[in-house]
Amino acid sequence: MSFLECRSISKSYDGKHALKDVTFEIEGGDLLSVVGPSGSGKTTLLRIIDGLEKADSGEVLLKGKKISGEPFLHRKMIGMVFQNPVLFNTTVFNNIAYSLKFRGEEGETIKKKVEEMLKLLRLHDLRGRNALTLSGGEAQRVALARALVYDPDLLLLDEPTANLDPYNVSIIEEVLQRSNREQGTTVIVITHNIFQAKRLAKNVAFLLEGELVEFSDSAAFFASPRDSKTLSFIRGEMVY
């Protein structure tokens, strides 16, 4: 039994396919990069896995259990970082603490875990700042902190470093890799940056117009792609 299994997922909006019969599985502890041009269905796939969107057909299984049945129960094991995260109108500290309060954690535990996150994401000096006053990179780090603080089994990230400067990119990539290696967190990260995929991923999935064109381990994906469309995407020849 694999950790996460997507079976024949299809989804359309207004008669137009966003995802077509997408099937793949990953093992616990994997780090999967989903790449593909804009509009290829990457975000839709992530939202279906997080239970925010219902697939028209097909199913998602997490540790062998159907997510589509009880998204609420399973979501507690999932952390999601949206492409443009919305933070709450309160301090950075409280933004991260909320995730634990939602899970009924107690004051001391909350304090300890939030402190750890502040340190990990280098947000210490910003702990008392209102989160709505943060820069893009700082906000993205808070969004990652609040998804990681409850130690999810599966972490989903939608282009977490798009439009960020190298300093923020390096912190976020480092934290992703660390929780993947040290906590064993399974990670799915959407990126349109194939260099980032190459740097981070164990597996790479290539989506094109809602179809899963290629799914393989990172080395094979970049060295010897099976599909010619993958090759032209990697070479940057794909026009989109």
Binding site: F82, P85, V86, N89, R129, A147
Partner: protein
Amino acid sequence: MDGFEVIAEGFARALQILLSGDQGILEITLLSLRVSLAATLLGAAFGIPIGFLVARKDFRGRSVVTTVINTLMGLPPVVVGLVVYLFLSVSGPLGFLRLLYTPEAMIIAQMILTFPVVCGITISSVLSLNPKLKETLVSLSAPPSWEARVLLNESKLGLITAIIAAFGAAISEVGAIMMVGGNLLGYTRALTTAIMLYTNMGEFATAIALGIILLLIAFGVNLFLTYLQMRSRVRRTT
């Protein structure tokens, strides 16, 4: 005596009353404050949760309910006074409560005025929240009680505005409390009803003086509420 002179004399009278601490007028002022603050708090206690539910829940007839509440925001106080009067009068359905011509009756009548104001403004401020907030809460597994707490906190600015508007409607109205309170000296006489009375008696300067006191206490209450409003606004500190 022309209008300007009356107003000038009213100012002098107001100053005199404020300095001398006239016992009767102090009582009238305190009653006004007590009734209108209670009506505002009660209106908010019902208006905020109900407004929140109307804004959050997708039920049939939601837009009709919202339209009704928005219409009631402009409810004429004298009509409210009349209806409450009919309910509370000896032969009315709630006559056995013996509340007519009491401060409690005044609070009930004003609460009927403040409730739709708070409710309507709450609905509009919750509706105008970023829809992604709700999705973020779902994704973070926030239980319903926490979801409500966080979303109300996000609407804080609008909720304070709702309370300011409700208090303004209550403290300034005369029709409702006149009908159900009866303007009884030392018991149900409030600032606005006293102004009516002095005007009818031709004591314009005293009426103006009471008007000035009314404005002053409204200003004082709003000073506090506006302070809360300014504090909850987001400022960039760096």
